[in-house]
C-alpha cells in the first residue's frame, strides 16, 4: 500500500514541477539543450595526440591490470614491469620525464575500445599484433616488444606430455584474446574436443585454474610463466613443449595520427638500437661524446631524428637514461635479474639469434 501512495505522490510532484518549468525555467533549459546540440556537432573530436599529452603534462597509458613482470603495481603502488617501462620510455621521449604517466589498467576485453574511444593515449598491453586488429579496429600496432607464442599449462598429476593429449580437457582462457581463437583452431585441426571457461579478467582465469576448475591454462607463454607467481601450487604444474601460435606483442595507437605512431614506433626502436650499440643507462652520458656516428645519431649529437619526430634534442638520451635500453628493461622486469627468469629466446637481438632488430637511424 505504501508503495502505491508513494507513486501517486511522485506523480503529483512531477505534475507540479512540470507546471513550474513551463513558466520560467523553460528558456534556460532550451538554451542549454540547443547549446549542447550545436556544440556536439561543431566540436572536432580528434586533436593530435602528442599535443594532448603535452597539454595535460601526462601520458595516459593502458596496460595489463596485473601480470607479474609485465605490469603490476609494487607494494608502494608504483607501476612496474616490462610494458610499464615502455610507457615510461614514451613519457620520457615526449615529456622528458618517465614518471609523468597515468596508468589505466585494462582487461583484454576492454583494451581496444579504450584506445578507440580516446580514453588512453597509447596501449601497452600484452596484445598480439594481427592483421585484423590493424585493419578493422581503428588502431595500428607500432612494433613488437615481445615475441611470444601460445602454450598450455597442466598439472603434473595429469601425466600429459604433449598438447595432443588434451582431448576432452576443460581450458581456462582470458576472453577477448587471440588465445580463444587459436584454441578453437588447434583443437579443430587435431580433431579434439575441449570446453573453455572464459573470464574477462586475467586474475580470475589464473584463480580458476589454480583452484581446479580447469585442467589446462592456456595463454601466451610469458603470461603462463608470470601467472605462476600468483598460484598457490605453482610447482605442481608444467608448461607443455608445444607452442601453437605466433604472438608478437606490441604497443598500439589510434589510426589517423601518423606523427604519434612514429613516436610510439621509434621510442621502441631507439631502445633496441641502444642495446645493439651498447648504450646503457649508466654510460649514456659518456657515449654522447663517442666517435661512432651511429651512436652520435642515436643520441642526437648528429642528425635530426629528434627534430623530425617533433621531440626535443635530448629525447633519446632521456629514454635511455631514465628507463634503459631494451635489454636492460627485459632483464630487470622479466629476464635474468627478475623472479621470472625468462630466457631472451626470440627476443634476443638479431645479432644474437633473436628477432629484435632496429632499422638504421639516419
Amino acid at each position: 500500500m505504501t508503495r502505491m501512495n508513494l507513486t501517486n505522490n511522485e506523480a503529483c510532484a512531477t505534475l507540479v514541477l512540470h507546471k513550474k518549468i513551463r513558466g520560467t525555467k523553460m528558456q534556460a533549459i532550451l538554451k542549454g539543450l540547443v547549446g549542447a546540440a550545436v556544440g556536439l556537432v561543431v566540436s572536432n573530436a580528434s586533436a593530435a595526440t602528442i599535443e594532448n599529452v603535452r597539454k595535460n603534462g601526462v601520458l595516459t597509458c593502458g596496460t595489463n591490470s596485473a601480470t607479474a613482470g609485465f605490469s603490476l603495481p609494487d607494494n608502494e603502488g608504483k607501476w612496474t614491469g616490462f610494458v610499464v617501462d615502455y610507457c615510461r620510455a614514451v613519457a620520457a621521449a615526449v615529456l622528458g620525464d618517465a614518471q609523468k604517466v597515468r596508468f589505466i589498467p585494462l582487461t583484454p576485453k576492454d583494451r581496444f575500445t579504450a584506445l578507440q574511444s580516446g580514453e588512453i593515449d597509447i596501449l601497452a598491453h600484452n596484445a598480439t599484433w594481427t592483421s585484423s586488429r590493424d585493419t578493422s579496429l581503428g588502431i595500428l600496432f607500432a612494433g613488437t616488444y615481445f615475441y611470444d607464442g601460445q602454450g598450455f599449462m597442466v598439472r603434473k598429476a595429469e601425466n600429459v606430455g604433449s598438447a595432443k593429449d588434451l582431448d576432452g580437457a576443460s581450458i581456462c582462457v582470458t576472453q577477448g584474446t587471440t588465445t580463444e581463437l587459436n584454441l578453437a583452431d588447434y583443437f579443430r585441426s587435431h580433431s579434439m574436443t575441449f570446453s573453455t571457461v572464459g573470464f574477462a579478467d586475467e586474475e580470475a582465469v589464473v584463480k580458476a585454474y589454480d583452484e581446479g576448475r580447469c585442467d589446462v591454462l592456456s595463454a601466451d607463454t610469458s603470461t603462463l610463466n608470470a601467472s605462476r607467481q600468483r598460484m598457490a601450487k605453482a610447482d605442481d604444474s608444467i608448461v607443455l613443449p608445444e607452442l601453437i601460435s605466433k604472438e608478437p606483442l606490441g604497443p598500439a595507437v589510434r589510426q589517423g595520427d601518423d606523427h604519434w605512431l612514429n613516436v610510439a614506433k621509434w621510442t621502441l626502436l631507439v631502445m633496441v638500437a641502444a642495446e645493439e650499440l651498447g648504450v646503457t643507462q649508466q654510460n649514456v652520458d659518456e657515449m654522447k661524446s663517442s666517435d661512432n656516428p651511429n651512436i652520435r645519431r642515436l643520441l642526437g649529437a648528429e642528425g635530426s631524428l629528434g627534430k623530425d619526430l617533433g621531440l626535443g634534442d635530448t629525447w633519446s638520451v632521456d629514454v635511455i637514461k631514465q628507463v634503459g635500453n631494451y635489454g636492460e628493461v627485459f632483464d630487470r622486469n622479466i629476464g635474468k635479474a627478475s623472479p621470472l627468469k625468462m630466457e631472451r629466446g626470440l627476443n634476443a637481438l638479431w645479432s644474437e639469434g633473436g628477432l629484435q632488430y632496429a632499422p638504421p637511424i639516419r
Binding site: 546540440a37 576472453q175 580463444e180
Partner: protein, 395 residues
C-alpha cells in the same frame, strides 16, 4: 475564415504574450532541440568512427566467430557466425533468467509466508534470511557461491558419487544421459492424455462443486492420472528408456549431461537474492489484507490453510504483483553479472568476446541494450496483463 477571426480577438491569438501560444512554441522548440541533439550525437559519432577507422556496418554478423562457448542450448561450434554467438547469448540469458524467476518466486513465497508464521523459530529464521541476503551486494553473493561453495568441490577423479550414476565435482553436476527407444513416444502420448484428462476433470469438479457443494479430491485424482497412466504404458511397452552413465575418461566424465558450476552459481545467487525481496513483498502484501478477512473466513469455518489459499492470497496478489514485476525485471538485468563468474550470457559472449574481436563497439552495445530493453518490455506487458486479471473488478 473571417468568422473565426472575428470570433476570436486577433490580438490574443497571435500574440507572444498569450501563455497558450508561448506554451506551444516552447514545446515545439523543445522537441526540435531534442531531435537536433539526437541527430547531432548520431552524426558526430558516425564521423568520429569514420575518422578513426572503426567499422560502422553490421557486416561482422555473418563472419565466422572462431571461439568456443561451453554452454549452449542451441547448436553452436567454433565455425559458427557472430550472429549465432549472439543468439547463444540471448538464449542463455533467457534460460537463467526464467529459471531464476521460477525459483525466486517459489522461495520468496515460502519465506514470505514463513515470516508470518506463528511459530517463533520459523518466523525468525525467515526474517534473518531476508535481512542478511538483501543487505549483501549481489556480486559478492555470486562470487561466494562460485568461489567458496562450488569451486571447493573435489576434482573429477575424487568426484562425489551420488545414487543413480550422478557425479558431483568442481566441473559441475554430471547426470546420466537419457536414451529413448521405440515406444517412448507412446509414453509421451500417455502423459499428454493424462494431462487432458486432468484439465477436463478440473472443469467437471468445479461444476460438481457448484451444483452439489461437495468437493472432489482433484489433487489426488490428477496426481494418480499424471503418474499412473504414463507409468502403466511405460511398463507395458517394456521400459523403452536407458540411461548412459557417465564414465571417467581422460580429464573428466564422458557421456551424460553436465550442469556447469558457472550456471549453477548464477542461478542460485540470483534466486536466493531476489527471493529475499520477493519475501518482503509477499509479507507486506499479506499483511495489507485487513484482519477482518481472516476472521470472517474463520467464522465461516474455513481451515487456516484454506483461509490463506482462498481468501488471503487472492487479495494479497493484487498488491503483490506490481512490485513483483520489478523484481522479475531486476533479476533478468542482474543476470548480466554472469560476466564475473564466467557464465556465457549475452553480455559475456556478445558484449564481451564478440565486441572485442570485431571492434564494433557501438553496434554491439546498441544491440545488447535493445535486447535487454525488449526482454524487460515484454515481461512488463505480460505481468501487466496478469495483473489486470487479478485487479479488483468494480461492480
Amino acid at each position: 475564415m473571417s468568422d473565426v477571426l472575428l470570433a476570436a480577438p486577433s490580438r490574443r491569438s497571435l500574440s507572444l504574450h498569450d501563455a497558450k501560444v508561448r506554451g506551444i512554441i516552447y514545446q515545439l522548440l523543445l522537441a526540435a532541440s531534442l531531435l537536433a541533439l539526437a541527430v547531432g550525437i548520431a552524426v558526430q559519432t558516425a564521423s568520429n568512427m569514420r575518422a578513426r577507422g572503426i567499422p560502422l556496418s553490421f557486416g561482422f554478423w555473418n563472419e565466422a566467430a572462431g571461439f568456443d562457448i561451453n554452454q549452449t542450448l542451441i547448436p553452436y561450434d567454433t565455425l559458427s557466425t557472430y550472429g549465432q554467438a549472439f543468439w547463444v547469448g540471448v538464449v542463455n540469458t533467457l534460460y537463467v533468467s526464467l529459471l531464476g524467476i521460477v525459483l525466486a518466486t517459489i522461495l520468496g513465497f515460502v519465506v514470505g509466508i514463513a515470516r508470518l508464521s506463528p511459530n517463533w523459530i520459523v518466523s525468525k529464521v525467515a526474517a534473518s534470511y531476508v535481512e542478511i541476503i538483501r543487505n549483501i551486494p549481489l556480486l559478492l553473493q555470486l562470487l561466494f557461491w562460485y568461489n567458496a561453495v562450488l569451486k571447493a568441490l573435489p576434482a573429477p577423479r575424487a568426484s562425489i558419487e551420488l545414487p543413480g550414476g550422478i557425479y558431483l565435482n568442481n566441473r559441475g553436476l554430471i547426470i546420466p544421459e537419457i536414451q529413448l527407444y521405440a515406444g517412448a513416444g507412446t509414453v509421451g502420448l500417455a502423459f499428454l492424455a493424462a494431462s487432458i484428462f486432468c484439465v477436463a476433470f478440473w472443469f467437471y469438479a468445479r461444476r460438481a462443486q457448484n451444483r452439489t457443494g461437495k468437493q472432489l479430491p482433484g489433487l489426488w485424482v490428477s496426481l494418480a492420472a499424471l503418474i499412473g497412466l504414463p507409468l502403466a504404458v511405460f511398463l507395458l511397452v517394456g521400459s523403452p528408456v536407458s540411461f548412459v552413465t557417465p564414465e571417467l575418461k581422460g580429464f573428466n566424465y564422458r557421456g551424460g549431461h553436465q550442469l556447469y558450476p558457472e550456471f549453477a552459481a548464477l542461478l542460485i545467487g540470483l534466486s536466493v537474492y531476489t527471493a529475499s525481496f520477493i519475501a518482503e513483498i509477499v509479507r507486506s502484501g499479506i499483511q495489507a489484507v485487513p484482519k477482518g478477512q481472516t476472521e470472517a473466513a474463520h467464522a465461516l469455518g474455513l481451515a487456516p490453510g484454506k483461509t490463506l489459499r482462498l481468501v488471503i492470497v487472492p487479495q494479497a496478489l493484487r498488491i503483490i504483483i506490481p512490485p513483483l514485476t520489478s523484481q522479475y525485471l531486476n533479476l533478468t538485468k542482474n543476470s548480466s553479472l554472469a560476466v564475473f563468474i564466467g557464465y556465457p550470457d549475452l553480455v559475456q559472449v556478445f558484449a564481451g568476446t564478440v565486441l572485442n574481436q570485431t571492434g564494433a563497439a557501438v553496434q554491439v552495445m546498441a544491440i545488447t541494450l535493445s535486447v535487454y530493453l525488449a526482454i524487460s518490455l515484454v515481461m512488463s506487458m505480460a505481468m501487466n496483463a496478469f495483473n489486470q486479471r487479478f485487479a479488483i473488478v468494480e461492480r
